[in-house]
């Protein structure tokens, strides 16, 4: 099985949200569940440039029923959305699942949509890429890795969902990079300096963010400090 990462132009709900008057930094699709009459429940995490009002968004999104908006605890101007939308607003997800590819992550930012999905093999990759390119007019393969298991499909990572909002984006980025590069392995496969260099931050900033992550993990496990 292959895990692939590819990039396309924003489509569906991400394209509509980028057209809002409010400036958006990023949109992550957390989950999507089908509803009758070609509709879909969409659950999103959206980071704006400034605080927003539900009324203004609803006015600008005809045909989309916003059922819930809540602000995250840690990241500024970042909101969880629950909405009922037309199935076409989840077109990339539909394309992936119709072609039996397993979606893992969809994040839109900087005028592109990054997608991580699992496919069976090379031929399956070609089929999926061909379908997506025909439908969306663009596709750039970014990365790939071999994997034995499908991992967490979109919406399936309960731990991550529990932690979402408890860690800031920068803390998550530090944690994920450190983990991916082997910082937590014994023996360590990478030094703190190398991770700091990868992230283009100082060694002390890296250390501070990792300690905040550890603190937040402990707070979640053991409750707040007295």
């Amino acid at each position: 099985m292959l895990r692939i990462e590819f990039r396309i132009r924003p489509a569906g709900i991400s394209s509509k949200l980028f057209d809002l008057e409010e400036q958006i930094k990023s949109i992550e699709v957390d989950n999507a569940l089908p509803v009758t009459n070609n509709a879909v429940f969409l659950f999103l995490t959206v980071q704006f440039d400034a605080d927003i009002s539900e009324e203004s968004l609803s006015d600008q999104l005809p045909g989309i029923e916003i059922i819930d908006i809540s602000k995250t605890e840690m990241n500024p101007h970042t909101y969880y959305f629950g909405m009922i939308s037309d199935l076409s607003d989840a077109s990339i997800l539909t394309l992936l699942t119709e072609n039996q590819a397993i979606p893992h992550r969809l994040v839109a930012q900087n005028a592109h949509l990054d997608v991580i999905a699992s496919v069976r093999d090379w031929n399956h990759l070609k089929d999926v890429a061909d379908t997506v390119e025909n439908k969306h007019g663009s596709l750039e393969l970014v990365g790939t890795t071999q994997t034995e298991s499908i991992g967490f499909p979109l919406g399936g990572n309960k731990i991550k969902q529990s932690m979402s909002g408890k860690l800031s984006d920068k803390q998550l980025e530090v944690l994920e990079t450190a983990y991916r590069m082997g910082y937590f392995k014994v023996p360590q496969e990478v030094t703190a300096e190398e991770i700091a260099s990868e992230l283009d931050i100082s060694r002390s900033t890296l250390s501070e963010r990792l300690r905040r992550v550890e603190h937040n993990f402990c707070a979640l496990l053991f409750g707040p400090q007295k």
Binding site: E5, G143, T144, T145, Q146, R180, M181
Partner: protein, 132 residues
Amino acid sequence: MTTIIILKSIEKKSTVKEILNSVVDPDEMIYFLRLPPVRCLGPLIQNINPMIEYGVEYSIDCLSEGYETSDLVEFAVDVGADRICIEISNRTVTGKARIDDLTESILLHDRISGDFVVGDHVIVLEELEYEA
């Protein structure tokens, strides 16, 4: 078996050695394929010494400036390549092998298919089949 090793630089001696050690078998035919702007593979191949150290036959070939992926596929068809090895030049932040333009165009090319294996330093396309 016939293997093409695509070389996009002359600094990947360890990658070539990994391929010769763990991917190809002795007595295979290896085509070291130099891509522009790489100019000369002689010193690299001499240093690795494929015939003596790994027991393989080899040839050094190149694609001309302005080559297209179809030229590479044509070369693979001409030599009857069962396998193509492409070095992984770097990785994404999440640890995936980064796919450059060349690798993408080979992977998505209509005429070539087979198995796809991602190693530590190399992407191996094997059991290749070619459309007419």
